[in-house]
């Protein structure tokens, strides 16, 4: 990388003045409400399946999860999810629906380049980081735990 030029304080002042201010508190509140509501709705669906459909909890959880992902993919296709996501920020990005959205959105976005080279190759652009770091970190921590047990 090229060495960074020293920032000109006069120029920096102009940059600061024109950079939009982040509203951290407001973003956090909307993320809390949006993400919390999504989780609570999923919990409601789980409660209904367990109470009214007599499905055992360990079978009902994946059903709810799959339904959430289905709805996310559908809303991504219609174009609602991205609009909502801009408003709710991390509230929609952090839940598993953010993962599903990133897969669906990148597959849709690169469709014009072909199903294989476009959709296929780009599908895990963002979600790939989650999968790779998840698998690697899970392997490392479980291996350490397993090895410590042997001693």
């Amino acid at each position: 990388m090229a060495p960074k030029p020293k920032p000109d304080p006069w120029y920096q002042a102009i940059v600061d003045r024109h950079t939009p201010k982040k509203r951290v508190l407001r973003n956090c509140i909307t993320a809390f409400l949006g993400g919390g509501l999504l989780c609570a709705l999923a919990q409601t669906a789980l409660f209904c399946l367990v109470e009214f459909a007599d499905i055992p909890q360990e079978d009902a959880s994946p059903i709810v999860l799959i339904c959430v992902i289905f709805l996310t993919a559908l809303f991504t296709g219609i174009g609602i999810y991205d609009k909502l996501g801009q408003k709710l920020g991390a509230g929609l990005a952090v839940p598993i629906s953010g993962f599903a959205n990133s897969v669906a959105a990148s597959m849709l976005e690169h469709k014009s380049e072909g199903l294989v080279l476009g959709s296929g190759c780009n599908s895990f652009k963002l979600a790939g980081a989650v999968v790779i770091f998840g698998i690697f970190s899970a392997f490392v921590v479980v291996f350490i735990g397993w090895a410590l047990q042997l001693i």
């Binding site: 982040k22 951290v24 973003n27 956090c28 993320a31 809390f32 409400l33 949006g34 993400g35 919390g36 509501l37 999504l38 989780c39 609570a40 999923a42 919990q43 409601t44 789980l46 409660f47 959880s61 999860l65 799959i66 959430v68 992902i69 993919a73 559908l74 991504t76 296709g77 920020g89 991390a90 509230g91 990005a93 952090v94 839940p95 598993i96 629906s97 993962f99 599903a100 897969v103 669906a104 597959m107 849709l108 976005e109 469709k111 199903l115 959709s119 963002l126 980081a129 989650v130 998840g134 698998i135 970190s137 899970a138 392997f139 921590v141 479980v142 291996f143 350490i144 735990g145 397993w146």
Partner: protein
């Protein structure tokens, strides 16, 4: 029954919301990209999972802890632990991805359908 429902609803809301706030703070205060934020949360989930803390959170908050992406790390750890218990070192490899199958498969299948059915914007 209503009381139990409200308890579950409230707990899922608070814990799920809190994890999303952590994500938002990583966006805004730590200036991480979405990919970095997700990766941090997943790694945190797997570390908390192997320490036995994340399962407690799941017991307490249900989908409040199961829906955020940090649960992905925890679920991977659970599968790997199960594999290690039955198959030792090699079991870690065979068990790791077993339990996240639902999430990843659903994301790919429905993502594919989305790409086939809908038209990309612009």
């Amino acid at each position: 029954m209503l009381e139990e429902f409200l308890t579950q609803f409230f707990r899922a809301f608070v814990i799920g919301g809190a994890i999303c706030v952590i994500g938002q703070l990583l966006f805004d205060v730590a200036n991480l990209t979405p990919a970095h934020t997700m990766s941090v949360l997943v790694v945190a989930g797997s570390i908390l999972g192997v320490l036995g803390l994340y399962p407690l959170l799941v017991d307490f908050a249900g989908f409040g802890a199961m829906l955020p992406i940090s649960s992905f790390g925890n679920t991977l750890v659970e599968g790997a632990k199960e594999g290690a218990a039955s198959g030792g070192f090699w079991g870690i490899f065979t068990g790791l991805i077993k339990q996240v199958s639902a999430g990843v498969t659903a994301a790919v299948v429905f993502g594919f359908f989305t790409a086939l059915v809908f038209k990309p914007k612009s």
